[in-house]
């Protein structure tokens, strides 16, 4: 069964640095998503992406964040000037549309 893959599985970064989290969605999917989950808390929606542009974003997704689909397979989340509170699991998901979202196993981001 096709899977969403995320790299790296764990990213450790100094506060103030920029990080790029990478995702390869399922190949025939058209909708892409990023979520955040702080340890022990619920899944939080960040952004959805369709047709090469952001379709929805949450209040969390401020100017510190950006997304990009640099080629036909990758979908990235960039976090600029990282803060301690950005430490969390970041999940990528993709879907065909109204079909359910398929999630990767996440990138654990640790900000020191």
């Amino acid at each position: 069964e096709p899977e969403v893959t995320q790299t790296p599985s764990h990213q450790v970064t100094q506060m103030g640095q920029e990080v790029i989290l990478r995702c390869v969605p399922i190949s025939n999917h058209l909708y892409f998503y990023w979520y955040r989950q702080i340890l022990g808390q619920k899944v939080e929606f960040l952004v959805s992406f369709y047709n090469n542009e952001i379709s929805e974003k949450s209040e969390i997704f401020d100017d510190q964040f950006s997304v990009e689909r640099p080629d036909g397979s990758n979908f990235t989340l960039k976090i600029r000037s990282t803060k301690l509170e950005d430490s969390a699991m970041y999940f990528c998901a993709s879907s065909e549309g109204d079909q359910p979202q398929h999630f990767g196993d996440g990138t654990r981001l640790s900000i020191l």
Partner: protein, 111 residues
Amino acid sequence: LAKTTQPISMDSYEGQEVNITCSHNNIATNDYITWYQQFPSQGPRFIIQGYKTKVTNEVASLFIPADRKSSTLSLPRVSLSDTAVYYCLVGVEDSNYQLIWGAGTKLIIKP
């Protein structure tokens, strides 16, 4: 503020039926209700999705009343491996359209 509400935790025993309810007062008219399962250190996994009445698949059933302001995930004959966190996800219409996740229900199955 649009939100969903689920019980924080539930306990049950192997072989029992478990029902988890999510309330979602502001659900968007044309949106589905979706439930996900999450194990530690993994991404959420799709369980079931529905719009109204009842949906059943090989792992669960989903009951949705006519007003669609709540939904109930039913897991028949649970086993220890069903211990996980269960989330409902809905689209809601507030000042704008939003995808809203419930806070999750931690289900613990005991032998």
